[in-house]
């Protein structure tokens, strides 16, 4: 038994080492390509230059304005889509008939890449934050609404009958039976909605906007400030990855509470 776990621990260690050396190898390759093999700094800036720029971006605090815009758009979009998706999803799920009518429609629209409608949103809402909020809210509405419908539909009818026959009120039924049973599925939908909203907002800022982190990356690229652009890319990736990690942790916690 202990021999087995020893072998497993050794294998895990070797796997970790392989991952670490893969990432280290990438950085070394980057360093060699830019410092020894004369790859144009316009295509790939030197890692030390990128680090220097990253330091200057963080120290000067010039990212604060763009970060505030992007996060504000994200917050607004997610608030709209979460409210709309949860309310509509709950209402639809309360009737078998409306579930059968509307659920296929919602999943059909969910299959369309909604980013297609970005030009329409820009036409209606302009280049400012409003079009990003609207697009992010639309894109994240569908996973949230669909998972809310699925969550409430997955509650075993026997639980509802049992609770009713023991005389609980509508509120008690919702609070102690329906919500705990549906919550895991709904939380997954909320996490997916958050992730796609973030992607939609960064994407629409990249494609057409006047402010925000996506726009900053594009404008640095257009002005050939490659090292600073790479620094911003690293910064945005770090922000996005940590936001997603926070949301996943919240999801896990919400699941455990019930």
């Amino acid at each position: 038994m202990s021999k087995n776990s020893d072998a497993a621990a050794r294998e895990r260690l070797v796997a970790r080492a392989a991952q670490g050396s893969f990432l280290a190898g990438l950085v070394v390759l980057w360093y060699l390509a830019t410092n020894a093999w004369d790859v144009s700094p316009l295509l790939l800036p030197k890692p030390q230059a990128v680090m220097r720029e990253l330091g200057s971006v963080l120290r000067s605090g010039e990212f604060v304005g763009d970060l505030r815009i992007t996060l504000g758009e994200l917050g607004a979009a997610f608030a709209i889509s979460a409210t709309g998706g949860l309310v509509l999803g709950y209402c639809v799920s309360q009737s078998r008939y409306w579930t059968r009518v509307l659920e296929p429609l919602l999943s059909a629209v969910y299959a369309i890449p909604i980013i297609l409608f970005l030009p329409l949103y820009v036409l209606f809402f302009g280049l400012g934050p409003a079009s990003k909020i609207a697009l992010g809210a639309t894109i994240s509405f569908f996973p949230i609404a669909l998972s809310t419908v699925a969550g409430f539909a997955s509650v075993e009818p026997i639980y509802v009958t049992a609770a009713r026959s023991m005389g609980c009120s509508s509120y008690q039924l919702f609070r102690w039976v329906l919500l705990p049973a549906a919550l895991p599925v709904i939380l997954t939908g909320l996490r997916m909605g958050f992730t796609v909203a973030l992607l939609a907002i960064l994407g629409s800022e990249t494609i057409s906007s006047v402010a925000g982190l996506g726009h900053r990356i594009v404008s640095l690229g257009e002005n050939m400030h490659m090292a600073r652009m790479f620094a911003y890319i690293l910064f945005v990736v770090a922000i996005a990855v940590s936001l997603n990690a926070v949301v996943s942790a919240l999801e896990l916690r919400g699941r455990r509470t019930y």
Binding site: E11, F22, A111, L116, A240
Partner: protein
């Protein structure tokens, strides 16, 4: 007596969910028609009757059919590359225990990066032509294929492999009769996810910068405030996306059945 029937015959049709679904669509289109006809500025929104009535005008705009063909071929190329490479990498990760444990976290790490942030880099490295759209499509489509293929290869029950081997099957026979049938459902599930990724990637890159593809025309129609043509083009593309998604979904349901045989 028919008067005793609580449901008048006119509403009976709404009892079928499919009919009611069409009714919902009709109500939505009607709302759009009324909003566009009476309440919203003609510069920004056209009624659906006009949009769908003038689809032929959109298609006759010089360059639009070529742009649709170009985008379609970019999606095809990106999907083919994603499936070929994703399948090879996924199989390697799925069957080789060490590479699974060491490399899969790296794949997951790369998958976790929001790729839209590096879209400008794709344009920088692959140019503003088709290559950058195909590459960006591949970058979105390949990860789900790798992950589902690897997961499918991992999920084969060891007892099936063991019993096949103990009955004297060769490696080739095991692959053909045990592994391959088992992989089919996850392979098609990966294809479906890969297709939606490819569509997203190619369309994102098209909208970002385009010389001759549909992105060029969406920008043109937006800037010339021509909502009829813009809505027409976007509906055509949405229809194309739905058709492609439906195609891989049908393939998935069709070929997944054969495992239970």
């Amino acid at each position: 007596m028919p008067t005793l029937d609580p449901h008048p015959p006119g509403l009976l049709i709404l009892r079928s969910p499919a009919a009611a679904r069409l009714g919902v669509i009709a109500v939505l289109l009607g709302t759009w028609e009324i909003a566009a006809g009476w309440f919203v500025d003609k510069m920004f929104l056209s009624p659906p009757s006009q949009v769908f009535g003038s689809l032929d005008v959109v298609l006759r705009t010089p360059g639009v059919t070529e742009a649709l063909k170009l985008t379609f071929s970019q999606i095809g190329a990106a999907f083919t590359i994603s499936v070929a490479v994703g399948l090879a990498v996924g199989l390697a990760l799925g069957f080789h225990r060490f590479s699974h444990r060491s490399l899969l976290p790296i794949v997951l790490l790369l998958y976790g990066i929001p790729q839209v942030t590096i879209l400008p880099l794709f344009i920088l490295y692959f140019g503003i032509g088709s290559a950058s759209k195909i590459a960006f499509g591949v970058s979105h489509g390949i990860f789900p294929i790798v992950l589902t293929t690897a997961a499918g290869a991992q999920n084969i029950k060891p007892i099936l492999l063991l019993s096949a081997r103990s009955m004297g099957a060769s490696s080739a026979q095991i692959f053909r009769w045990v592994v391959f049938p088992h992989m089919i459902p996850s392979f098609f599930a990966g294809m479906r996810l890969g297709m939606s990724g490819v569509l997203l990637g190619v369309l994102l890159a098209e909208l970002y910068v385009s010389q001759a593809g549909i992105g060029y025309f969406t920008t043109l129609f937006t800037q010339s405030l021509d909502p009829t043509k813009l809505l027409g083009l976007v509906s055509l593309l949405a229809a194309m996306a739905i058709a492609l998604n439906e195609l891989v979904r049908r393939a998935e349901t069709r070929f997944s059945r054969f495992r239970s045989v």
